[in-house]
Amino acid sequence: MPKIQIPTPLRQYAGKQPAVEVKAGTVGGALSDLVAQHPDLRRHLYTDDGKLRAFVNVYLNDEDVRYLQKEATAVKDGDSISIVPSIAGGR
């Protein structure tokens, strides 16, 4: 099954696990399965109207899914999906 890597700040909402196995054929399906298993994650990943938050980057292996088929990107067993909140700032 594909795995979703959970960033440090979100692990407390995912049973303290660094990674969660999901059943899905697409990135969108994988994220849906993730929040179904761990509902507390939903508000951290999605806005109130169900869109992925702008600062949440999702990578399939080493590719940003925005440059693939976004949430329709196909996933297979052994794939690693990473959730990476943005890191930015400045004076």
């Binding site: 960033p7 440090t8 700040p9 990578y59 909140p85 890191i87 700032g89 400045g90 004076r91």
Partner: protein, 144 residues
């Protein structure tokens, strides 16, 4: 509290001197204990993708962060925070720093670099439960 070995403390400050007058940025790796004390065991430099405004903005490519995270995980390290510099500007978080901070319970370390020399280094913890109540709170740094 953030515990930083002297070698890593010097390294993150020196990074800011090297990139002056631009902001440097990087990742703090280590562990957090059950009381929320974060201990740095290594720092990883990152590139600043904000080449359009590097004198007052930084951004780390998520792809680079994934690599740093993967390499850290192989050593038993987690991402516990980030550092960046403020060229000719105080080592205090700005509204931009807060707006762009999303790694809760992680440390955000800022070094003021004045005329190319690292001056003060401060640490702030991102607290709160979500985007609506997040804060950057002063955090003690213990250099060992």
């Amino acid at each position: 509290m953030l515990i930083v070995p002297l070698k890593e403390y010097k390294a993150l400050r020196q990074h800011g001197e090297e990139t002056y007058p631009h902001e440097c940025c990087g990742v703090l790796l280590g562990q957090m204990d059950e009381e929320g004390v974060r201990t740095v065991t290594s720092v990883a430099r990152a590139g600043n993708t904000r080449t359009d405004s590097a004198h007052n903005r930084y951004h780390i490519d998520p792809k680079e962060l994934i690599r740093i995270q993967r390499e850290g995980r192989a050593r038993g390290e987690d991402i516990i925070g980030f550092y960046h510099s403020h060229p000719d500007h105080p080592a205090q978080w700005s509204q931009t720093d807060l707006a762009e901070a999303h790694w809760f319970s992680c440390s955000y370390v800022i070094t003021s670099v004045e005329k190319g020399k690292a001056m003060l280094t401060n640490a702030f913890e991102l607290t709160g439960s979500d985007e609506n109540d997040k804060k950057l709170e002063d955090e003690k740094i213990e250099v060992m």
